[in-house]
Structures are given as structure tokens and as C-alpha cells.
């Protein structure tokens, strides 16, 4: 689990509005992408926790299968997940989150390297807040952060 300190506020008006940093749970099976996403989020003044797969993500959120032995659930403001993952996909993860009474209000953003309209629509219909195309850049995350922070208030 990673936590970041404030790296300094961005020049956008969004960060000056709010005192605390949003906590993002980033889920991706690709180690290079995880590193990039973590850095993008920290640079955008977000707290980051990364997970390698959907099962781990569910455990962090406190809605995994074996919840007796897991520590207290993380408080997250956003789940950012890759679509294509082995085992449980990002879409499955989205569904599980939206089915859960505790977690359904948390916005879920799906990322993918493939621009497949049917896939995008499927995710949005299931309640995904947004769909983002990889590779991710800082401008993508900054826009996302603005949107998420607006939703909090």
C-alpha cells in the first residue's frame, strides 16, 4: 500500500478548493502501467493505493470474498481500473462495486488500450463514471481529478 504526501498543488482551480487529497485505488495487472498511473496520480496530488488484480482490489475495498481476515476497508474516493485483467476483468470489478451497498457510490473509471465502442458502452451502462484510453498522460488524470472532486461536494 502506498500513501503520498502532497507534492504541491497544481495550478488548476480544483486543487485549491479542497483541503484533503482524494484517495485513488488503481488496479492494473501491468507493472509498468501501475508505476505510471501511480506517478500520474501522485503528481496530481492524490493518495494512491495500487492493486495487481481485481480480487486484491475487492479485499482493499472490504467487499472481497474472504472478509473475515482482511483489515479494515480503505476509504477511497475513486477506483481506477484496467479493463483487461486475468481472472476478474475491470468490468466484473465494476459490477461487484456497484452491487455492493457500501461501495456503490464510489466512482469507477475504466481504462483500456483498445477503443472498442461496445466495450465502452457496456461499462458506462453498468455505471462506470468514465472510460479512459491508454496510454495515460498527466492531462487525463488532471481532468479526472477535477471531475471527481466536483462530485464530492
Amino acid at each position: 500500500m502506498n500513501n503520498s504526501e502532497d507534492q504541491g498543488s497544481s495550478s488548476s482551480s480544483c486543487s485549491s478548493y479542497y483541503e484533503d487529497q482524494p484517495h485513488v485505488l488503481a488496479v492494473d495487472d501491468n507493472v509498468v502501467d501501475r508505476k505510471l498511473i501511480e506517478k500520474l496520480l501522485k503528481t496530481s496530488s492524490c493518495k494512491v493505493t495500487t492493486a495487481e488484480n481485481a480480487m486484491t482490489a475487492l479485499e482493499y475495498l472490504g467487499i472481497g470474498e474472504d472478509q473475515h481476515n482482511t483489515p479494515k476497508a480503505l476509504k477511497v474516493n475513486l477506483v481506477l481500473t484496467d479493463y483487461c485483467m486475468p481472472g476478474m476483468t475491470g468490468y466484473d470489478l465494476l459490477k461487484k462495486i456497484k452491487e455492493s451497498s457500501q461501495m456503490r457510490e464510489v466512482p469507477v473509471v475504466i481504462m483500456s488500450s483498445e477503443n472498442v465502442p461496445t466495450r465502452i458502452n457496456k461499462c458506462l451502462e453498468e455505471g462506470a463514471h468514465m472510460f479512459m484510453l491508454k496510454p495515460l498522460k498527466l492531462s487525463d488524470i488532471k481532468k479526472l481529478r477535477c471531475q471527481v472532486m466536483k462530485r464530492r461536494h
Binding site: N30, T43, S139
Partner: protein
């Protein structure tokens, strides 16, 4: 009582010391400038050769004082990860019954990570490879694997060189030049 000769000697010594330091600083800053130019030209050449694309610029922008090693870290992660995956591809193709599903998954992974760091040569090699894999064309796959390995070896060697120049700049007390990127789309 002051000794004029001693004072003059001290002053002269100090002046010489300052001049020497200034000259050294000037030499050092010249060296930094030369290295920075080398860094910029070298990076530019990698773009021209189709080895890297704009995504690499975005990575460079993420490196700052709080994380001065970011570029080296993510590039080295990519090397470790991709090297292993290329070996997995080889092992897979060597099997009597090639696992095309696994092949596709592995290629998707390499395509993803190379795209994320801007290693467009590797990314393109994977795209071609996916086509051969989908056609279950094993001979074609072997050719594609060779292309992918070549593309990987090239980007590895070039980025190793680039990172060395970066290290030299830092050792000489300079800062890494930042690229400009495409303006944000609204």
C-alpha cells in the same frame, strides 16, 4: 601589529582560489550545456528513427526533484518485464501445441507497457505479431518474434545510453532538459 606581506599573500591566495573556482565553474557549466544538448539531440534522433513517440515526452515531464529517478525506474521496469515476456513467447512457440490464447495475452501485455512508455517500435512489432498469432501462422510468429526482439534490443540499448547521459548531467550538477508536449485537447 599587522604584517603587510602576510596580508598580501593571503589576499593573493584568495584571489587565485576564486579565479580557479570560477574557471572550474565555467568549465563545469560548459560541460553541463554540452551534455544537455547531447541529451536533447539524442532523444530527438530516437523520435526520428521511430523508436520512441510522444508518450516518452510525457514520462520525462513526470520526473522532478521529488522523484529524480522516475524515468530510470520505469524504463528499467519495462526492460525487466519485457525481457521475461519475450522469453515466455519463445518458450510458447517452441511447444508442440502453441498456446495461442496465451500468446495473445502476452502480446497484449507487451503492447500495453511499450505504449505506456512510448517505445513505439516495440509496440508496432507487437501489433504485427498479434495478426500472425490470430492467423495461427507459426512460421510468421517466429519472424514476428525476431522483429519484436530486435525492436526491444534497439530501444533497450538506446535508452541505456540516454539514461547514462542523464546521469552524467546530474553528476555534473546540471538539470535534465524538459521536453514540450502537444497542448491538451479540450
Amino acid at each position: 601589529m599587522t604584517n603587510p606581506t602576510n596580508d598580501t599573500t593571503i589576499i593573493t591566495t584568495n584571489i587565485f582560489k576564486l579565479l580557479k573556482e570560477n574557471l572550474l565553474t565555467k568549465r563545469m557549466s560548459n560541460r553541463v550545456t554540452e551534455l544537455q544538448k547531447e541529451f536533447v539531440y539524442y532523444t530527438s534522433s530516437l523520435f526520428d528513427q521511430g523508436i520512441l513517440n510522444d508518450q516518452f515526452n510525457h514520462l520525462q515531464l513526470l520526473q522532478d526533484e521529488s522523484n529524480p529517478e522516475f524515468l530510470a525506474e520505469i524504463v528499467n521496469l519495462f526492460f525487466q518485464d519485457t525481457q521475461k515476456l519475450l522469453d515466455d513467447l519463445t518458450k510458447n512457440l517452441e511447444q508442440e501445441n502453441v498456446d495461442f490464447l496465451m500468446l495473445d495475452k502476452t502480446l497484449h501485455h507487451i503492447k500495453g507497457s511499450s505504449s505506456s512508455i512510448g517505445a513505439v517500435g516495440v509496440q508496432n512489432a507487437c501489433v504485427a505479431f498479434v495478426t500472425c498469432s490470430n492467423e495461427k501462422n507459426i512460421e510468421g510468429c517466429w519472424r514476428c518474434l525476431e522483429e519484436a526482439r530486435n525492436a526491444y534490443n534497439v530501444v533497450r540499448s538506446k535508452l541505456d545510453t540516454l539514461l547514462k547521459i542523464e546521469q552524467e548531467i546530474v553528476a555534473a550538477g546540471g538539470s535534465i532538459p524538459k521536453p514540450s508536449v502537444e497542448p491538451d485537447e479540450e
